[in-house]
């Protein structure tokens, strides 16, 4: 039954729903309460998103006159032009620098640490302690330690730089990344490690030639999850930067709204522009993104 709709998507093989087909009719099909909740929730999610999209295409004057949910009679990109002229290209670049600069190194060092913990954890008290430390780290909320982070950043004279956002973002991405990557490295069959060792490979070589290819899906997942977290981060830029040149998108959006709060179409165009990159990513790699969102809780 699913194949009929499938023709729309000339998608990769993975697009096929797993198993099913021969499966007995699932009793979950007749689920009245679930169905009601499902459709109601759809409306609750879609109406605001639709409102954002149509409003961002209206002129401020038209917006006040007409029904806010009506399609724009005279769609315009004027709001987008206005937002782009407010230096959003710079904020976008800043967000890219911060995200890439923190998530890249974070995933790399987490991967190495996870490898070390899984490979050497049994024989090394040090590695078990490190593992315990990262587990504890999962429970530290960023907000609660923001004051000492602010102090450290001032002391190392990085206040009001992009690096000030990058360093704590990098550190706080580590615990969950180590946890998830460790879970996947553990699944690599021991025999493969053993045969690498027989072939005289070093641990460093084994890390890259064996563990890396075999855990690539997990690496992608972790990268996406952490990337989304850093991209959407608000607290660190708010506290650790000051000048407009160092703003990332969420902070810029907030400042923009403070400045032009009456011009709702422009504010919403800014909302669209800041989320467009993520939505594009969502369209391209939905599965990876969703598994990334539950990283660590699902595996």
């Amino acid at each position: 039954m699913a194949t009929m709709l499938d023709s729309r998507t000339p998608a990769p093989v993975a697009e096929k729903p797993p198993v099913k087909a021969r499966r007995r009719i699932n009793p979950l099909q007749w689920n009245v309460a679930g169905g009601l909740a499902g459709w109601l929730w759809l409306a609750i999610v879609v109406v605001p998103i639709y409102w954002i999209a149509v409003t961002s295409l209206k002129l401020q004057d038209d917006y006040y006159d007409a029904n806010p949910l009506a399609l724009p009679t005279d769609p315009t990109l004027e709001n987008y032009r206005f937002v782009l002229e407010s230096d959003f290209a710079r904020y976008f670049t800043n967000s890219v620098i911060v995200t890439v600069g923190s998530v890249g190194p974070a995933v790399l060092v987490s991967f190495m640490a996870a490898y070390a913990i899984i490979r050497g954890g049994a024989g090394s008290r040090f590695l078990r302690t490190v593992n315990g430390l990262f587990l504890m780290g999962l429970a530290i909320p960023l907000q609660a330690v923001i004051i000492p982070i602010y102090l450290i950043i001032i002391r190392i004279q990085m206040y009001d730089t992009l690096g000030a956002i990058i360093l704590p973002s990098l550190a706080f991405a580590i615990p969950l990344s180590v946890l998830v990557l460790g879970n996947f490295i553990r699944d690599v069959p021991k025999e493969l490690f053993e045969s690498m060792r027989m072939d005289g490979a070093t641990e460093w070589g084994t890390l890259w030639r064996l563990a890396f290819p075999l855990t690539r899906p997990a690496l992608v997942t972790v990268t996406i999850y952490q990337g989304l977290t850093v991209w959407n981060g608000f607290v660190l830029p708010l506290i650790l930067t000051q000048s407009p040149e160092q703003r990332t998108l969420p902070l810029a959006l907030w400042e923009f709204q403070g400045q032009y709060s009456v011009n709702i179409p422009a504010v919403l165009a800014a909302v669209v522009l800041t989320t467009l990159p993520i939505l594009t990513l969502y369209v391209i790699g939905r599965r990876q993104l969703l598994s990334g969102l539950t990283a660590g809780f699902g595996k």
Binding site: W41, L127, Q143, Y150, P168, F172, I239, I264, Y282, G298
Partner: protein, 308 residues
């Protein structure tokens, strides 16, 4: 978001022959150093700073013993902030959990159209809390928002100007963003329930509702605990959302702990009391996480993870 540390099992003793652990230990150092500098040191630092009267404006840090703690603990704002935090936590749990379970069960059935719905459901998860809050602030504006344009008197209230309503808006916006996440967790949980259990129940003549309460819910126990832990502990850290939406107002009605901390520290330049509140935030979070974990039975720590 963070929290709910599921236990990582270190490699079983059998893998001892892995070429000597000394040869891999160095690989853990970069992560260890990075996390120590910006995770562990700040955690200790916040405790130290809670005994200071640092203003945040200067680089010298005068210590003042228990002054900050006395100030904070005697301040009626603290019980108020705790109460607001608790209200947001409890209400958002009450709204999110039943809906997430219902939607999770709904999405667990493998239907093409439900997969399409799921694609739409998850969009809020991708947006920053700043973007979501800004959108709702505009949408709920009594003069320029959706309600004013549509002419629905119900929607036209001063949502963010009234204390009770503002708290409701915070809970709604939290739910709007996070129900998809928890539905996803429940969807995974429901899909792991063996179909044979439902078959047996059908043979015994149990109806749909009976099956839900006798099979689905009990089987989801560990999923519920995981999801609730994330909800409850995560709700302590709502800052972006509240700050952008209401900045703690009106009249302190949405002044949760994290907002209180920010205002004392970075608005009133009282880093000592703000650090004391941060310590309280960490302690409350740990207590809740441990308490919920105990609820699930400590020996079952692993299946909590697998239930998710």
């Amino acid at each position: 978001m963070t929290i709910a540390p599921p236990v990582v099992r270190t490699a079983p003793p059998g893998s001892n022959n892995a070429g000597g652990s000394g040869s891999v230990s160095w690989m853990a150092w970069p992560a260890l150093i990075a996390f120590t500098l910006f995770g562990v040191v700040p955690l200790l630092g916040v405790l130290v700073l809670s005994f200071s009267s640092w203003t945040g404006q200067t680089t010298d840090i005068p210590f003042s013993g228990l002054d900050s703690w006395r100030t904070v603990l005697a301040d009626p704002d603290l019980p108020h902030a705790l109460w607001v935090t608790f209200l947001i936590m409890a209400l958002s749990w009450l709204v999110q959990t039943p809906l997430s379970i219902l939607i999770g069960v709904f999405l667990a059935a493998r239907h093409r159209y439900r997969a399409v719905l799921a694609v739409l459901y998850f969009i809020p998860l991708l947006l920053s809390q700043a973007a979501i809050s800004i959108t709702y602030k505009a949408l709920l504006d009594p003069n320029f928002g959706l309600g004013a344009g549509l002419g629905f008197p119900f929607l036209q209230q001063d949502w963010l100007g009234d204390g009770t309503l503002a708290l409701g808006v915070v809970v709604f916006v939290v739910s709007w963003q996070f129900i998809p996440f928890h539905s996803l967790i429940y969807q995974g949980g429901v899909r792991q329930i063996p179909a044979s259990m439902y078959e047996a129940a059908q043979i015994d003549g149990a109806g749909r509702i009976r099956q839900f309460f006798s099979i689905t819910l009990p089987q989801l126990k560990y999923t519920i605990i995981t999801s609730s832990t994330l909800m409850v502990v995560g709700s302590l850290t709502f800052f972006d959302l509240i700050w952008v939406l209401t900045a703690g107002g009106p009249g302190g009605a949405t002044q949760a702990l994290a907002v209180d901390m920010y205002q004392r520290g970075f608005k009133a330049n009282l880093m000592g009391p703000a650090s004391a509140i941060a310590v309280i935030l960490v302690l409350v979070g740990l207590l809740l996480a441990l308490g919920l974990r105990r609820l699930g039975g400590r020996d079952q720590a692993d299946s909590q993870l697998e239930g998710a």
